[in-house]
């Protein structure tokens, strides 16, 4: 036993103060920025009312970062940025410079370390994604592997700004959508396709049956007695495999290697620019879970990006382009099959039915 006195216990201190880690040029010009210019892909220049210029160099990260890599970023920030750096809402790392002469050497070092510079303006920025098999209990697929596979194929779209508008991709491993894929230009969503397999012995020990029944959004779960013990049964026709029951009761297992897979969604956005924010819509209902490279998913996403890049007008996001040319054209150009699954049959389904004779021929 050591007798080292314990430091006093601290709680509820909250995060570091919002202005504690700001570089001096940011502190000086806080709230006083005038405009910005695009210097090169991955490089922005913000100009303050004072005339000060702040250069941002943005590089990709794999989101999962070892402390060893974070320390490499820190070494670059010490060398080029006076010891300051930041991350973006899409898992990119950003270096803020005051001396434009340092941009080129910093870019060279980042590229040398394997972190592409880009993700600004009309490019594909980093993919927002979830934990997947790396660290989640309800994942139908692995997010990190999907992201790596898709971005290996689309890396040039990150380092160049040659798309009609910005393009945002997200990956979520199940319908919980921690990656909020419901509003991205292109979304990859892990799906289950079979009702939960009920572990009756575990259920009677570890779950409250009324809570479990209440958790089902479609009322597909009802009480049942199995081997003399309280349990439940699932009405298969009413189950849409959302997995909410599994979240409240571990005995409702969803993982199913044979039937789990991916769906592809398109046309969502969160920005209010031009058109209002939109949900993503179904493009491909099911693709197989095919690690480690998911070639079917990579092919489908690349197809959408290529068709969009060659057909959309300047400034049109994916959803805005599809609305202009029409969904029939989208399916024709991408070659994706339009199936019964594309027509909504859940709540409020009729809202998406075409109720006019306005048709493009």
């Amino acid at each position: 036993m050591t007798t080292t006195p314990q430091p006093p216990r601290i709680t509820d201190i909250g995060p570091p103060a919002y202005d504690k880690f700001l570089p001096p040029i940011v502190k000086k010009n806080y709230g006083l920025w005038k405009y910005h210019e695009n210097v090169a892909p991955g490089v922005l220049c913000h100009v303050a009312e004072s005339g000060d210029k702040l250069y941002t160099v943005r590089a990709a990260s794999p989101r999962i970062l070892a402390v060893q890599t974070i320390r490499k970023f820190c070494a670059l920030a010490d060398k080029y940025c006076g010891g300051y750096l930041r991350f973006t809402s899409r898992n990119n790392v950003e270096f803020l410079l005051t001396d434009p002469a340092k941009i080129a050497p910093l870019k060279a070092e980042l590229t040398q370390l394997g972190f592409p510079v880009g993700g600004t303006n009309n490019s594909i920025s980093n993919i927002v994604h979830t934990q997947g098999w790396v660290h989640c209990h309800s994942a139908a697929t692995d997010a990190s592997g999907l992201v790596k596979s898709v971005m290996d194929a689309l890396c040039d779209r990150f380092t160049q700004e040659n798309l009609p508008a910005k393009l945002r991709i997200a990956v979520a491993c199940c319908l919980n959508m921690c990656g909020a894929v419901h509003c991205s230009d292109i979304a990859i969503l892990g799906v289950h396709r079979m009702p939960p397999k009920i572990q009756h012995a575990l259920l009677s020990k570890s779950c409250e049956v009324p809570t479990l029944i209440a958790s089902c959004p479609t009322g597909a779960i009802r009480p049942a007695t199995v081997d003399g013990k309280n349990s439940v049964e699932v009405i298969p026709e009413q189950c849409m495999y959302c997995g909410n029951c599994y979240t409240v009761c571990p005995a409702m297992t969803m993982n199913d290697p044979e039937h789990d897979g991916l769906s592809i969604w398109v046309g969502g956005k969160v920005s209010n620019a031009r058109s209002t924010p939109k949900f993503t819509k179904l493009a491909v209902p099911f693709l197989p879970n095919n690690p480690p490279r998911w070639p079917e998913v990579v092919e489908a996403v690349t197809k959408i990006v290529d068709v969009y890049a060659s057909h959309a007008r300047k400034y049109e996001r994916v959803g805005e382009w599809i609305e202009r040319v029409g969904w029939p054209k989208f399916f024709e150009l991408t070659g994706f099959e339009f199936t019964r699954y594309h027509i909504d049959d859940f709540k409020h389904a009729g809202l998406s039915y075409a109720r006019s004779a306005q048709i493009r021929y």
């Binding site: 070892a66 930041r86 620019a273 690690p291």
Partner: protein, 401 residues
């Protein structure tokens, strides 16, 4: 079966090794790098390889773990193959409340790295979907020491479970000319004022707050937060005609690319002068995005408050909808806090278990919700008035209830 030994202490990972190739940064390389400082990542690699072989996850359903006095901030994670991979038998996540705008000094970041290398796997997410700095994988006995070492370094835990989740914001005034209010300060102030709600889950379900400085909404507040605070302005777009002319001279097709894409068609370009009918402008940001040197948000700035967005679980995805069309920047904190008090009181009383506030509004209807929180209806709240005649008239207006 994944072999847990490759002769050099590292697991055999033929499938994952494939993901070390290619131009995009590799998460497999990151996990392998972390193997240098800790044992957990080796077994993580082994278990992940097994998942890649079997196309199946190997984490068990969560579990109640945490630090003393907090109900949130730690996500319990247990392997379902612990005999095979004992170093990830428990491999919990710690959410650390990120600094506003994700700014760091290298000194602070290195301190976090040193603590995490000593106490956990050395693997992180920079950052998680809600915004937290995520520390990925440690054992139950390390949770409290990690927490206290972080606290002494000036960091606290974020939210999890049915609490106020860690608020997040865009970098706003720190680098962006479009910030219509101080997102980082408001986000920080709200986080500090609601520490109890952040650390001790007492709500029907999670509650997320996101502060976006302008309608471009770089933090996706309208899609991902129960309370979306989106900066906007009331007066006229600031216009610099000389700079407009420069964009035109540089070859910009102002008629097609600016006026033609304006959603309200409130702009005219006669080849020399851009005229904006500000009364019809919806503050969408397109023209400002395209000509940042010539056009800027107005000077009478503040925010629009929207409520209720969420991902699909349980009843379906929602985007936030307008609750308060405009609050001046200088009144924002006080008014938002007053509003939050009313929202939480009502939700606490009427929300069902695991019902987000947006789903509560869907269930009872926005009019009843407005009655409940004492807010007057406003036409900005709807895209159009109702188109059905099935109206629930109130008792004092002829209804029978």
């Amino acid at each position: 079966m994944a072999e847990s030994n490759n002769g050099n202490g590292k697991p055999k990972t033929e499938l994952l090794d494939e993901l070390e190739k290619g131009p995009w940064p590799s998460f497999v390389k990151e996990i392998k790098a972390a193997c240098e400082g800790s044992d957990g990542p080796k077994d993580l690699l082994g278990q992940l390889e097994l998942s890649y072989q079997e196309k199946k996850g190997h984490w068990k359903h969560g579990g109640l773990v945490g630090v003393l006095g907090y109900g949130g901030g730690v996500i319990g994670r247990y392997s379902d193959v612990p005999e095979q991979f004992p170093k990830v038998a428990h491999f919990h996540t710690i959410r650390v409340n990120q600094p506003a705008g994700w700014f760091y000094t290298t000194e602070a970041l290195r301190t976090v790295c040193d603590i995490w290398e000593k106490r956990g796997s050395g693997l992180t997410n920079m950052h998680g979907s809600t915004g937290d700095l995520v520390l990925l994988g440690t054992t139950t006995d390390q949770l409290e020491p990690t927490f206290q070492e972080l606290a002494h370094a000036g960091f606290d835990l974020g939210g999890s479970g049915s609490d106020m989740r860690t608020p997040s914001c865009c970098l706003g005034m720190a680098r962006c000319e479009w910030a219509c209010y101080d997102t980082m300060k408001l986000c920080y102030d709200l986080t500090m004022d609601y520490q109890d709600e952040l650390h001790r889950p007492a709500f029907p379900y999670k509650f997320k707050i996101k502060c976006a400085g302008c309608p471009n909404d770089c933090v996706a507040s309208i899609a991902r937060s129960d309370l979306s605070i989106i900066g906007t302005w009331k007066d006229e777009i600031q216009q610099d005609d000389a700079e407009v002319a420069k964009y035109a001279a540089a070859g910009m097709n102002i008629q097609r690319d600016v006026c033609g894409l304006c959603p309200t068609k409130c702009m005219e370009w006669d080849g020399k002068k851009l005229t904006i009918s500000n009364a019809e402008c919806t503050r969408c940001m397109h023209c400002i995005n395209v000509m940042p040197k010539a056009l800027r948000p107005g000077k009478e700035r503040g925010a629009c408050i929207l409520i209720g967005s969420k991902a699909p679980i349980v009843q379906g995805a929602l985007l936030s909808s307008v609750l308060v069309p405009f609050i001046p920047a200088e009144e924002l904190k006080e008014t938002v806090k007053e509003l939050i008090t009313r929202l939480w009181e009502f939700w606490d009383e009427y929300g069902k278990a695991r019902e987000r506030i947006g789903e509560l509004i869907q269930r009872i209807g926005m009019p009843a919700f407005l009655d409940g929180i004492g807010l007057e209806p406003a036409p900005e709240m709807v895209s159009a008035p109702r188109d059905n005649p099935f109206i629930f008239f109130q008792p004092d207006q002829g209804g029978e209830k």
